[in-house]
């Protein structure tokens, strides 16, 4: 009953504070929308300046969805790139091909390089084929009675199929499950943490300790009170991401909500726990770069296998590592509840540990 009184009070305070409420409910949507349009927009076609190349190569380059701009006179490639706003310059001198890449955007430069390589090898292959046919014809003329069966090499048809996603999949599709989880985590952390911090700094927590309330009543009161808002936020964010932004969702929506709720629970408890070690809102903010930002790195944005071994161990202590992976599994790979139940259990384990730590941390205010 004391817990219910606390829950009621947290709800009244939260509903009165329209701005915080808006931050919690709307801010994640705004950020997700921005990222959605930024990341999934088509990259513009690379512009390649060409000098001294053969017609066949230029045609082949054009086939590769490049904007090919021939230049007769070539000063220095670097200068040309700057003047004409190019992504690269291909220059042929005799048998020597020189490719200069701008490389202001490494991923774009890599793509351009690959395309140029492909074009060159296609041209070479075609030339080889023509030469071979010529050679066969010559031999046929010199040895008229010999039947020549030149097996025409045809390019094998390649059909690509995908285990996860499809040819339309963008980076955002893989990233967005993690972002959805992270925003839920971040905003719940911030608001619950500052909520309890305010109670500490205004002295009301001290005052509560002069009533027969138990420490666990306070922890559960906060957990349920802010938890209700975290649930609403989670549902809004998940629905917005999947229905409005149309982020790829292969698995069940309910599993996505379940994982996010587990994440919100952990964030909430972590928030009120860390607020015990902050004396002001500003000090609470200082926990963001220490406790929250590193979580993103381990959430699946950077490949886990590539990490040094000790970093992989660190990752195991990050709630977002489990949350992020489970979300990618469900939203992108379409896994079911059985495949993510381990992650869910670990998150609940985190929550349980944090609940105990929170109850212990309140001993600072009253020993019993």
């Amino acid at each position: 009953m004391r817990t219910i009184a606390l829950v009621k009070r947290v709800c009244i305070q939260m509903v009165r504070d329209k701005r915080t409420l808006a931050l919690m409910m709307v801010a994640p949507l705004v950020i997700l929308t921005l990222l959605h349009f930024l990341i999934s927009s088509d990259p513009n076609t690379p512009r390649l300046g060409v000098n001294g190349a053969e017609e066949s190569l230029i045609d082949e380059l054009k086939e590769k969805e490049l904007k090919v701009i021939p230049f007769d006179q070539l000063k220095s490639p670097n200068q040309l790139i700057k003047e004409e706003d190019l992504d690269g310059v291909l220059k042929m001198e005799g048998d020597q091909l020189n490719l200069t890449l701008t490389n202001d955007d490494p991923s774009k430069a890599k793509l351009l390089q690959t395309k140029v390589m492909q074009a060159i090898s296609t041209v070479n292959a075609k030339e080889q084929a023509t030469n071979l046919a010529q050679f066969a014809e010559d031999i046929g003329q010199q040895l008229p009675n010999t039947p020549i069966n030149l097996i025409q090499l045809t390019m094998p048809e390649i059909s690509t199929s995908y285990v996860y996603g499809n040819s339309e999949t963008t980076f955002f599709d893989q990233l967005s499950p993690i972002l959805v989880g992270f925003f839920v985590f971040f905003f719940v952390f911030l608001i619950s943490g500052i909520g309890l911090l305010r109670e500490r700094t205004t002295g009301t927590l001290d005052r509560l300790m002069a009533t027969p309330i138990q420490r666990k009543d306070i922890v559960f009161g906060y957990l349920i009170g802010y938890g209700l808002f975290a649930i609403i936020q989670t549902i809004i964010v998940v629905f917005y991401a999947t229905k409005v932004l149309d982020i790829m969702l292969v698995g069940s929506l309910w599993n996505v909500i379940l994982i996010n709720l587990a994440l919100a629970l952990v964030a909430l408890l972590l928030g009120i726990l860390l607020s015990a070690f902050a004396n002001s809102e500003f000090q609470m903010m200082q926990f963001i770069p220490i406790a929250i930002v590193p979580q993103v790195f381990f959430a699946g944005i950077l490949p886990f296998e590539g990490m040094p071994e000790w970093m992989q161990i660190v990752a195991k202590f990050m709630p977002m590592y489990y949350g992020g992976n489970a979300l990618v599994d469900v939203m992108y790979k379409g896994f079911g509840i059985n495949d993510i139940k381990n992650e869910l259990f670990v998150l609940l384990g985190f929550a349980l540990v944090f609940i105990v730590l929170n109850i212990v941390a309140l001993k600072k205010y009253r020993k019993i």
């Binding site: 305070q13 002295g203 005052r207 002069a210 027969p212």
Partner: protein, 246 residues
């Protein structure tokens, strides 16, 4: 007479700093017991030890013959902190109702007690206002109302009349005296001497020690002086002299 609050050789230190030194206090039931002393003398720490919000470094605190801290005991203690600890974004009514439900008052009792406590501190007409719009004095009064909300056996008031105008102070004191007549025990800290006169027993705290105690009249006759203020200065001076000698 049974003692309601008893402190036996209580000392408290924060880190290396000694805040309270070997305090012995006995408060009898149905008394108004005053703790007087300058700011920083350790009054608030003493009060917090009695409520159980802090634990003594050594010694014992007993309230109603129960060892402090004890959760059940808090049900019989009404506490008013020196700094107003109120929820500014809630109304007066909501603040009172919140604390009332922490004491597990029944709904009908809750209504009754809120009306009573608000009326006592003359806040009835302001109950639906948010506390952030209250004046300093109104906040003090609301804090007092919260301390009274569960009709506690023991009232511990840490400087209850600071920032309250004389008229209201008078009515609050009248109420304290009335509560005493109901058999309640009241422990009050103050540094206003005319309030000290109204107490049955006094303990003067200075530098973490009790330098003198007894009824106001006894204290005055002991030092052969008419005003408590002078008693306080005299007792303090004696202590300083002792310190200088030792």
């Amino acid at each position: 007479m049974t003692s309601t609050i008893e402190l036996i050789q209580v000392s408290k230190s924060f880190g290396k700093k000694n805040v309270l030194n070997n305090i012995n206090i006995k408060v009898d039931a149905g008394q108004i017991f005053g703790l007087i002393g300058p700011s920083g003398s350790g009054k608030t720490t003493l009060v917090k030890l009695i409520v159980g919000m802090d634990q003594p470094s050594s010694g014992q605190v007993q309230v109603l013959n129960t060892q402090v801290p004890n959760l059940k005991l808090l049900q019989s203690i009404g506490y008013m902190a020196q700094a107003d600890a109120l929820y500014n974004d809630l109304t007066g009514q909501e603040n009172l109702a919140f604390f009332a439900s922490l004491y597990k008052l029944r709904k009908d009792v809750q209504q009754e007690r809120i009306a009573y406590a608000a009326n006592l501190v003359a806040l009835t007409s302001h109950l639906s206002k948010k506390v952030q719009n209250y004046s300093g004095g109104m906040k003090r009064r609301l804090s007092l109302a919260i301390a009274l909300i569960h009709d506690p056996q023991i009232l511990i008031l840490d400087e209850p009349t600071v920032g309250i105008d004389p008229e209201l102070r008078k009515s609050i004191w009248a109420e304290i005296v009335r509560l005493k007549s109901e058999g309640k025990t009241i422990l009050i800290t103050t540094h206003v001497m005319d309030e000290a006169e109204k107490c049955d027993q006094l303990a003067m705290v200075r530098g973490g020690e009790i330098i003198s105690n007894g009824s106001p009249a006894a204290l005055k006759s002991h030092y052969n002086i008419n005003s408590l203020e002078e008693v306080f200065l005299r007792a303090g001076g004696e202590k300083d002299e002792n310190n200088r000698i030792s």
